[in-house]
């Protein structure tokens, strides 16, 4: 009972309450309060994450599995950053309250936490993000192959958009006068026609479909039809 019916009741009840809360002025803000609670819950649940991170890496180190040294590096940088952050080591004192150490700003590049963010954390994430430029190129070579009508449309449109975005596009079709009958052959006109009429229509239909999918998924959960999250389901 405690492990099956109560969770289903909690889920159904909280779902219905928040669905209806949106419609009366008295309870409109319940949604925000619940999301605020969730942020606190997520912050408390970090202990779960940290606990698991330590367990996985400590186990790798103790069992000397290949690559255990990297687990040591992960733990070293984790504790270093955690210590600098939680204790606000070397934080720039707060002008209004110089006496209160923990009110200081620990995110400027002068404090160790800020220094690691500036010179270790953000270059690593920025470079991972920049790797996409390479993968976009390999995807263009590998996946854009004219095998059937669908893939011809996929690569043809990408081809037109890519051309239209460069000076080459203007160079190739810029000479067609804008008011002539063949104006639609101009690459920039084609790009506007594709993005304004066809892409918006496609995105609209996908969004409508997604909305219906969200309604059905939410109702399956609230009505207790989908119980996959319950152990001994």
């Amino acid at each position: 009972m405690l492990q099956r019916t109560v969770p289903i009741a909690i889920l159904g009840l909280s779902g219905v309450i928040l669905m209806l809360a949106y419609f009366s002025p008295l309870t409109t803000s319940w949604g925000e309060t619940v999301l605020e609670w969730f942020n606190i819950l997520a912050a408390v649940a970090f202990v779960l994450g940290a606990g698991n991170l330590l367990a996985v890496n400590l186990e790798k180190i103790s069992s000397r599995r290949p690559g255990w040294a990297y687990a040591a590096i992960t733990l070293l940088s984790f504790f270093l950053m955690l210590g600098f952050g939680l204790l606000k080591v070397g934080a720039v004192p707060n002008p209004q309250h110089p006496g209160v150490h923990l009110a200081g700003n620990y995110e400027t590049a002068d404090s160790p936490f800020g220094w690691i963010y500036e010179y270790v954390f953000s270059p690593l994430t920025a470079t991972m993000f920049a790797m996409l430029a390479f993968y976009v190129a390999s995807a263009a070579f590998r996946a854009f192959r004219a095998k059937n009508t669908e893939s011809i449309l996929l690569l043809g449109t990408a081809f037109v958009i890519l051309l239209a975005q460069t000076a080459a596009g203007m160079f190739l079709t810029g000479w067609i006068p804008e008011d002539s009958a063949f104006a639609f052959l101009r690459l920039d006109w084609m790009k506007v026609a594709i993005t304004e009429h066809i892409q918006t229509a496609g995105m609209r239909a996908i969004t409508i479909g997604i909305a219906l999918g969200v309604v059905a998924t939410s109702l399956r959960l609230i009505l207790g039809i989908d119980k996959s999250y319950l152990s001994k389901g």
Binding site: F134, V136, A143, R145, T166, A167
Partner: protein, 307 residues
Amino acid sequence: MNTNTHDRQGGGGGGSFLSRLGGLDRRWIFLAMGLSIAVPILLKLRFPEVPGPMARATFDAIESIPEGSRVLLAFDYDPASAGELQPMANAMVHHCAARGHRIVFMALWPLGKQMADATIKDVLLEFHPQYAYGTDYVQLGYKAGNEAVVKLMATDIPQQYSTDAAGAALASLPLVADVKSTTDFKLVASISAGYPGAKEWVQYANSANPEAFKLVSGSTGVQVSQLLPYYPAQMEGLLVAVKGAAEYEMLVTAAYPSADKPDLLAERLGQGRVRMGPQLVAHLLMIGLIILGNIAMVAGRSRGGAR
């Protein structure tokens, strides 16, 4: 949806060079992309940009308002998007100053003020030393509140900005002493990277009184799909990503060259075109790769039947 019938990695086989192309090691493609971006940066390659209709419309909007009129420039972005947007800001400030417009700077993003200060130092005071603070330009700085700031400025600016960024009362600055709302400006420009940004300026400032001022915007490539519907009805001009910046730069530097520091102007107002260098080469590489991929497939298919 199953649209992919491409063969698993490691395809390709013996036979003609073209069919072996199918199994081309991805790392050659990575090397090609790396070089197609590194070389133009190192050699500072600049390619002639042919200004498109949207960049020209933005240029005309600033040209069309009478000389010396009051304009409002909103810096709604941060260093992460400076790569695409800083060139637009530099060119727009030089263009307004060359037309003698009196400029009011503000920002909807916390780091936007720093971006504006950099533009004032690098462009405004560098090429227009005669611009005096208080009479020719004012820096209002950042205000929190996202679209609420825009909504309030559409009706009552002094209530939103009681003082400028340095704390001086608006009444003490001749340029903004008599300003009541955004309708007192001939043109409003938003250099925008996301939310809050150009969309909020259209929804809250422009739709409140559409005819009062011209609205132009510069935006990152990603955000442009949200702004396209507003052009040209509610927004006279729209600069799109690095390409828009490069085109606008060409129009401004052609129309308003600097007499005493031509090379410094070319450098400061050339960032867009420098960044367009790798874009053009990389785009041509992408186009080439799509063509190459298809040639390899056709060659592979003709040699030993479809795999």
